[in-house]
Subunit: 306 residues, 2 copies
Amino acid sequence: MPICYNGINDSYTMGDTMIEIYLLEQFVAFAKYGTLLRAAEELHISQPALSRSMKKIEEQLGVQIFHRQNSKVSLNETGRLAADYAARVLQADREMIEMVTVFDRSQRTISIGSCAPFPLQEIIPVLQDNMIGMAITSEIIDEDERLVTGLKNRIYQLVILNEKAEHDDIFCQRYIDEKLYVTLPQSHPLAERASVSFDDLKDTRILVSAGVGFWMNVCRKNMPEDNLLIQKNHDAMGELIEASSLPFFNSDCMMERGYMPPDRIAVPIIDSEAKATYYIACLSEDKRKYSSVFNAVRGNIIRENF
Amino acid sequence: MPICYNGINDSYTMGDTMIEIYLLEQFVAFAKYGTLLRAAEELHISQPALSRSMKKIEEQLGVQIFHRQNSKVSLNETGRLAADYAARVLQADREMIEMVTVFDRSQRTISIGSCAPFPLQEIIPVLQDNMIGMAITSEIIDEDERLVTGLKNRIYQLVILNEKAEHDDIFCQRYIDEKLYVTLPQSHPLAERASVSFDDLKDTRILVSAGVGFWMNVCRKNMPEDNLLIQKNHDAMGELIEASSLPFFNSDCMMERGYMPPDRIAVPIIDSEAKATYYIACLSEDKRKYSSVFNAVRGNIIRENF
DNA sequence: GTCGATTACGTATTACGTAACAATT
DNA sequence: AATTGTTACGTAATACGTAATCGAC
């Protein structure tokens, strides 16, 4: 218990007033630029205004933070400390705005992750119809595991998987099947076949779009790497298909929806790996929220089954 | 890289304006008290003023944070998040003021730690004369080690030690000697003696003031615990000395400065432990700052040596 | 004279209170 | 009727800009 003699009577009118953000902004700017003139220019205010503000903040702190002499103002040691802390306050203010904005946006956004591109084509319009006013973000990820993790971490609200997810906290519904075809020029030796296997295609160079999700894994596993002509650019892919006679992959789903360039023959691939069954999943607790989506999709399945 | 469809165009005029502290204070108060009326009362402002402020903060955030229905306002989920972050901003603001105030005060305060009370009596007036405008805080600590640590940690700017401190970063100067006396009533068997030892006093009950620093350790070591009548209260000690004829400890320094109740006889104690040599020390780097103090104290020593 | 800061004064903004009103309970 | 929030309007506080002034290099 220290005993205190001769305490300076600096404890007069100490205001319990907080110091406003605009003052701290100006103060931090002064600390950064060194002179009132420079700082005032940067702040787009007049020099006298800044001068007054600095007086005010000093008065509100109740402590000397400036060293004034020779018509120069500078921070003293206490002032430098104050500037550090002031910067933290501004940071906290910015962080608040940032966090609130991001959170609000996340509240108005449905993120959907899919293992393949086709289901997205189908489901995004469904979401737009059923979740009115929501922004929709989609992403293609080639591993179910990452999708499931993303779902649990609430990075995704909906995911399209390759395998049925069997977790207590995840609601998972079968969605649709997709069968892989290879699209050949009429002149191609295999074009007459009723079906082919990956083995039949082992000497054929085939165009593959980069954004096909898990299908890329299937291709890499079943085809020689050198025969895969991977196109990152979607437009370039389209042009290549039009301009060349190179084979490319297609699927029953895509063809049903009218995607079939002229003068090509689509031949189904019989390998079991050339068939995918998609599942759509969300967190169990969100099941109600997306029920209309699941219902719309179930209707879709029934149609498929006919 | 998520692709974003159908982004709601909520990105209009978004101001880069920070949100002022007074708004955050009002907002946090509303979050705390639940209704505008309650919060307005607590804030000592009118309800309409608060209502407008809440509108303003919502507009500045550019995001809905309130749920309004049935002439009730409440926070929505985003609002609760915002309130949490707003509280942090206020905390940062308060912390800034607190830190700056404390630092400033520490700049204007000399803390002195001493192993015994007498040197403080001497040195505090010296400090008041030489360090004009500074507040002086003093503390009695009975272990040199803690004093030295406190000096290095800048808890103390000056310390009075029992032993010379031999550290590179500490400047240490011999200060003054103090010899312990026992003050006895004239009727006491030992009162006639030219000197006594602690051993002579082993059957004597003696008053000891609690705030004597290291002297207490000396007493405890050399006297039976039961014979020490320890007084925590300084006034009570004075009264006991006046009213009773109990022996108590005194010293040459104290007596030279006129501290000697009537009708007592002071007998010196000859044990080596009954003599103390004080040293005054500061950090080497502060030597210049306190040079006037050290000089004043050296004059003191010279006087003593004559 | 230039640069940097302050003082003085007028103005525009704005945060506030009062009063009236609207909507539920 | 009582409680709670909003709208309308006038006022007081205040943050700002312009112009003038001071001081040092």
